[in-house]
Structure formats: structure tokens, C-alpha cells
């Protein structure tokens, strides 16, 4: 299309500006974590790493971090297992209700988190309380797994569709049994998509707050919950800054990795 040079330049400048706006808030947090001031002030008054050491020594942060890691690992394992199974079912077999399943998997990320949260909350209070299972790590893991399934599912399904079933059929024709086929043919082809899905699922679970709020109860606290609780306490602000800065850096890595490993299916959004 023959756009004038000026129009091209204007579009380019506009796009650059939007990108800048996308990244400025993240940079502000990063820079501010080295700000020695106790209350928030901009521009920073100097350079100091004292809040970093303070944050690392903070008991609440450490406990919350460990809880988050546990919840993330639990939810990711469940999501890996169920997401892969669902993807296989949808990609390799035809059965009644196949379309319904692909819709069902997407629903937890299509509906607002607060709806999922309340739905799980009311289900847990109604069904689990009578059995003596209260809110805690278990309910958080179940809650997270419901929306983590979809990222694993998307990644594995994209891979399975691209590879096709011919390799598995060939393996069967050559005399391999089902287990051997899975071990030597199917698993190696989907391995990298599993890793990508798992990384994204973990990142999702680690970051999630809404569903967590409704499923965690009073006994445990994940890292995002800790941040949210301390957000309104002025003397915790510098520590939050550091935690937030860590999260920004820690997030860039797995996402970048999973982008390389997946077929671009990672774009599937959420919240």
C-alpha cells in the first residue's frame, strides 16, 4: 500500500509510543526498588540496595513465596496431567461432546476470575466442609489447576495437530505396543510443548490473586496475596517494590523460554 512517508513515520512513532507506555510502569518499579527513601518519592533520591536485603530477610515474604511455589507446582502437575489427556482426547479421537470439551476447557479463563472464585468458594463450602476439608493449600491448588489446564491443553493440542497421527500409526505398524509408542514416539514429539505449557501454567498460578483470594481461606497466603495485603501499609512500600521488581525479572525468563519452545500457541490469554 502506498502510504506517504509522513503517514508511515507517524504510525511508527505512535507504535513506539505505545510500546514505551507498555514498559514504563515496569521500569518505574525496577528503578524505584533501588530508591533509598522510605516513602514513595519520584524522582529517586539516590541508589541503595538496603531494601533488597530487607526484603530477603522478611519472614512474611519468604513464607508467602514458599506457599506460592507449592501451589504453583501442585497446580502445574495436575494441569499437565489433565491438560495433556484432554488434548489427546480432542486431537486423536472423535466422540460425542468433543466440541463441548474444547469450550469447557476455555471457560475458566473466559469468565471473570471473580466468578470462578465465587463458584469454587461456594462449592467448597457446600461439599468439602462436611468432610472436614477446610480452605487451605489443597483448595488453592484445585482452584489454580482449573484455569491452568487450558494453557497446557492449548500447547499440547497445537503440537498434536501439527505433527499428526501418522508417526504413531507407523510405530504401531512396526510392532511397537502402546507403551513403547508413547515412550519413544509420542512423548519426544510433545516434550517441548509440555515444558512450555508447564512454564506458563506455573507463571499463571504464581501470579493469580482473584481465585486465590476466594479459595485460600485465612490460614495461608500466596505471594500476590501478601503484596495485596501490604499494599496499603505505607511502611511496607519499599519491600513491596523489591518483591515487585523481582517478579518482573523472574517472569520475563520463563515466558521467553516457553515462547521459544512452543509453536506460538502461548498467546492464549487469560485472567
Amino acid at each position: 500500500m502506498n502510504l506517504s512517508k509522513r503517514a508511515r513515520r507517524a504510525l511508527g512513532a505512535f507504535s513506539g509510543l505505545v510500546l514505551l507506555i507498555l514498559y514504563i510502569p515496569l521500569l518505574v518499579v525496577l528503578v524505584n526498588s533501588f530508591n533509598p527513601a522510605k516513602t514513595f518519592s519520584w524522582p529517586p533520591t539516590g541508589f541503595s540496595t538496603k531494601w533488597w536485603s530487607r526484603a530477603i530477610a522478611n519472614e512474611g515474604v519468604r513464607t508467602a513465596f514458599v506457599t506460592s511455589v507449592k501451589a504453583g507446582l501442585g497446580a502445574t502437575s495436575i494441569a499437565l496431567l489433565l491438560g495433556t489427556m484432554a488434548a489427546f482426547a480432542v486431537a486423536r479421537y472423535t466422540f460425542f461432546g468433543r466440541e463441548a470439551i474444547s469450550l469447557l476447557v476455555i471457560l475458566p479463563i473466559a469468565l471473570p476470575g471473580i466468578v470462578t472464585g465465587i463458584a469454587l468458594n461456594s462449592a467448597f463450602t457446600t461439599f468439602l466442609k462436611p468432610f472436614g476439608i477446610g480452605f487451605g493449600l489443597f483448595t488453592v491448588i484445585v482452584g489454580h489447576a482449573t484455569f491452568c489446564i487450558v494453557v497446557v491443553y492449548n500447547n499440547v493440542l497445537a503440537r498434536l495437530r501439527r505433527v499428526g497421527a501418522t508417526l504413531e500409526e507407523a510405530s504401531g505398524d512396526l510392532g511397537a505396543n502402546t507403551f513403547q509408542t508413547f515412550r519413544y514416539v509420542t512423548f519426544p514429539t510433545i516434550r517441548s510443548s509440555l515444558v512450555a505449557g508447564a512454564l506458563l501454567a506455573f507463571a499463571l498460578s504464581f501470579d493469580e490473586i482473584v481465585v486465590t483470594t476466594f479459595t485460600s481461606g485465612a490460614s495461608i497466603k500466596t505471594l500476590p496475596q501478601w503484596i495485596f495485603d501490604n499494599l496499603f501499609r505505607p511502611n511496607q512500600a519499599p519491600v513491596i517494590n523489591v518483591v515487585a521488581a523481582c517478579l518482573i525479572v523472574a517472569f520475563a525468563l520463563p515466558v521467553w523460554l516457553s515462547q521459544r519452545l512452543s509453536d506460538g500457541a502461548a498467546a492464549g490469554g487469560r485472567i
Binding site: 505512535f14 483470594t213 499494599l231
Partner: protein
């Protein structure tokens, strides 16, 4: 699979049923008896109507702002950049999407706060910054969901063959006319696909309001406050129906455009 059916659909059904229960005024215990009181309160109390309308307006503004920003940038990515730079741009747009939601919200809190970045930028010009409030909420929501709008519109534009644009200009249309009569109609389904995300995500958000919203609440806050501080699960469940119904209504409204096939 059973997991999702039981854990998720089951939960949704329980929530729906719970919306018709009530709590004992005195003890706060659940009373499992069918009543439509919750919905009655929702409809008759004017405060809930105000908040519902405010939420829908905010969600619509967020959607429109995102579309206005996303269409030029998506066009630039799809039609002007070289393939190599295009890939880099897509990655650059995607990356903030995965940065922690709470961290981004927090970052904006520091930007909008008194003595924050925005106040610092505005002070030489003697502009008074509005601080926390509905405006800040709308801006942050638009910021958060922008990639959800850019990506579908970009994907839609990428499928649009260049020859169409060339043909239009060969036939004598100027750039603006080509944009209006060729590009816009073709991006429309992609815009709808993106708007489903921006609209429904905005409808369901209460965290941003808490962080930068000041006093003006959105509907999800009604839900949250009822379950959090008041412990009134049935009323919260009934209130949660409002965003759900709004989103479903929106989905039905846009289904005719065929955008749902593009999701």
C-alpha cells in the same frame, strides 16, 4: 475431564443455586431455602443500578480506547514492518501481558500517587493530576488489556492481502479512504474478538478499583465486599450473576458478526 465437569461446572451450578439462598440476619449462617430476595434487592436498590451502569460504561470506554490504540499499531505491525521486526514487535507486545498483573497494577499506583511519576511529569506545566479515581481505573484497565486487543486485530490484518490495499489505491482512493472502506470493515470481526476480552475482563475486575480506584466502586467490588467482609455468600453469588449476564448478553450481541469463530 471429569475434573473440569465436576469441579468447575459443578461449582458454577452451586453458585447459581446459592444465589437463591439467604443468610440468617442474626447468626450469618447459610439458610438453604429458595428465595428471590437477593435478586429483588439487586434490582430495586438504586445504588446497585448506579454501580452496574458505571461498570458497563467503564468497560465500554476501556474497549473503545483499546481499539483506537490497537488498530494503528496492529496495522503498523502487519503491513509496514519487515517480517523480522514484526516477530520482535509481537514478542514485545506479548511480554508485558505475562508480567505479574498485580505488579503492573502496583506500578500504576506509584505513578498515579501523590508525588508520583505523573505528578512529577505534570508539575512543570502546572497541571493538577486527578490522582486515584474512576479515571485512573479506566486508564489502568485499558493499559492492562491492551495486548488482548492488539493481538487479534494484528492477526486479522495479517490475513488481509496487500493486493486489496494496492487495488484500492490503484482505483484512486487515498490512504484515509482505503483505511475507512477496506481496512476498518475487515478488522471489525477481529476488533469484536478483542473486545470480548477487554469488556469481560473489565467487568470482572475489583483489584484495580481497590488499588487506584479511590472511592468509586465497580460491580465486581459489590461481589467481593459481600463475600469478603459481609460474608453474605448468597448475595455475592446473585451479584456475580450481573457481570455474567452482561457478558453473555454481549457475547450474544456480537455473535452475529461471526467473530466468535475467530477466537
Amino acid at each position: 475431564m471429569l475434573w473440569l465437569v465436576v469441579a468447575y461446572l459443578g461449582s458454577l451450578i452451586v453458585m447459581f443455586v446459592a444465589a437463591f439462598w439467604s443468610t440468617n440476619d442474626f447468626t450469618g449462617a447459610l439458610v438453604r431455602k429458595f428465595t428471590t430476595n437477593n435478586f429483588h434487592t439487586l434490582i430495586t436498590e438504586s445504588v446497585y443500578r448506579t454501580i452496574a451502569v458505571r461498570s458497563i460504561v467503564v468497560a465500554s470506554i476501556v474497549t473503545i480506547v483499546d481499539a483506537v490504540v490497537a488498530i494503528p499499531i496492529a496495522f503498523f505491525m502487519a503491513k509496514i514492518l519487515s517480517p523480522r521486526w514484526r516477530r520482535i514487535m509481537v514478542a514485545l507486545v506479548l511480554l508485558p501481558l505475562w508480567a505479574s498483573y498485580l505488579v503492573k497494577a502496583y506500578a500504576w499506583r506509584t505513578i498515579f500517587s501523590e508525588g508520583g511519576v505523573l505528578a512529577w511529569v505534570a508539575s512543570p506545566f502546572n497541571i493538577h493530576t486527578p490522582g486515584y479515581g474512576l479515571g485512573a481505573t479506566t486508564a489502568v484497565l485499558a493499559y492492562l488489556w491492551l495486548p488482548y486487543m492488539i493481538l487479534p486485530v494484528f492477526a486479522g490484518l495479517e490475513r488481509l492481502p496487500d493486493s486489496l490495499l494496492d487495488a484500492s489505491s490503484d482505483l484512486g482512493a487515498n490512504a484515509w479512504r482505503t483505511f475507512r472502506t477496506i481496512v476498518l470493515p475487515i478488522t471489525y470481526p477481529a476488533f469484536i474478538a478483542g473486545s470480548i476480552f477487554t469488556f469481560s475482563l473489565s467487568m470482572g475486575d475489583y483489584i484495580i478499583v481497590k488499588i487506584v480506584g479511590g472511592k468509586s466502586q465497580l460491580f465486581a467490588n459489590v461481589v467481593y465486599d459481600n463475600i469478603g467482609t459481609a460474608g453474605n455468600l448468597p448475595f455475592a453469588a446473585a451479584a456475580a450473576m450481573v457481570p455474567v449476564v452482561t457478558i453473555i448478553a454481549y457475547l450474544l450481541m456480537v455473535r452475529r458478526s461471526g467473530a466468535l469463530d475467530n477466537l
